[in-house]
Symmetry: C2
Subunit: 202 residues, 2 copies
């Protein structure tokens, strides 16, 4: 008996839509007897291929995006507040999440959710190592070990590998999902992902 393949979930810790995806993807996967493989990546690197700017820095589109982040969160019933410091570089939370994931995938999910909520609910600047360590510490992790992990060469390499993997998978935005080889960009493709999981390719 083969287990069904996990859903690959690519995200950047500075992405509001990535955060919304992180709050919704596990429940969606469970409804269809799937697991989720969480892949932190760096949009700054990915954007070098497409020439994209951070969304909030695009004229005209930026103000709409800020409005849509909050409205989409309310629509889905997810707590959200635009952080004062935004966007942030995502290396620190990404490495910390990968450190937790290397111990156990479920711990990686728990660390990622704690970091995302610290940023998008509490407004904490998780690009700062001590702030990120406090966030995972509050979620039950060893804060000192988490703080130390972000400087470990193996963890740095793990993040580089995740970014390479994302680029190889054709990821150009956050969140990005791959379901049995099929790519879906955005929280707004959850309806299509749901049908794909329920009925197969359409």
């Amino acid at each position: 008996m083969n287990a069904k393949a996990p859903i690959d979930f690519y995200f950047d810790f500075s992405s509001p839509y990535g955060y919304l995806g992180s709050e919704m993807i596990e429940a969606l996967a469970r409804r269809h007897d799937r697991s989720v493989d969480w892949h932190p990546m760096l949009l700054g690197v990915v954007f070098r291929q497409t020439g994209a700017l951070p969304l909030t820095q695009v004229p005209v589109k930026g103000p709409y995006a800020i409005r849509d982040f909050a409205r989409s969160a309310r629509f889905h019933g997810i707590p959200y507040r635009m952080p004062d410091v935004f966007p942030i570089a995502a290396q620190v939370p990404s490495r910390m999440m990968l450190w937790a994931k290397q111990r156990d995938p479920a711990q990686g999910v728990r660390a990622a959710q704690a970091l995302y909520r610290a940023f998008f609910v509490d407004g904490h600047d998780i690009s700062q190592p001590d702030v990120a360590a406090a966030a995972v510490g509050a979620a039950g992790f060893d804060a000192a070990a988490a703080r130390a992990a972000i400087d470990e060469p193996a963890i740095k390499d793990a993040l580089k590998a995740e970014v390479d993997r994302a680029i190889a998978a054709g990821v150009f935005g956050s969140p990005f999902f791959v379901v049995d080889g099929e790519p879906f960009w955005g929280v707004d493709r959850f309806d299509q992902i749901e049908r794909w999981l329920a009925e197969g390719a359409f």
Copy 2:
């Protein structure tokens, strides 16, 4: 008794997602006792503000978009085929639709749907005046009058006014909807538009 305000629907005739929106917006509006005011505009002009490129020309994102256009059409049960000539300049179909709209808004809708389907179902290059005239002719309009209208100064000015109106409304993509002052970008915001119409601001 005040009638409820119409939904403003901004679209570019070269936009696949605009086409999908054109096939869905009237039914959505009817469910909530609303009318729709159809506004053709030119993404090429709008994109000068944001620096955006036509979606299919963006590295990495372009191939995904081509896949997503067709998948989204299948998801919504809308006939669709990627035109061989793409993108096209939308001046000709836009002016032809405005010519029909000036006679009667319902005729504008009928002309717009005929033009969109000629392009995205039949693959006809509606940037060509004779091709566009044939498309509206097949839908019951006077093809010769439609063909002549695209060179009328008043119709040209009407399109310029629509583009100015779109820019003033903060439009940066297609389709773009404004419901009682609230902006929504994309077919994938139909779920939010539906709730906004049913329950008011959330």
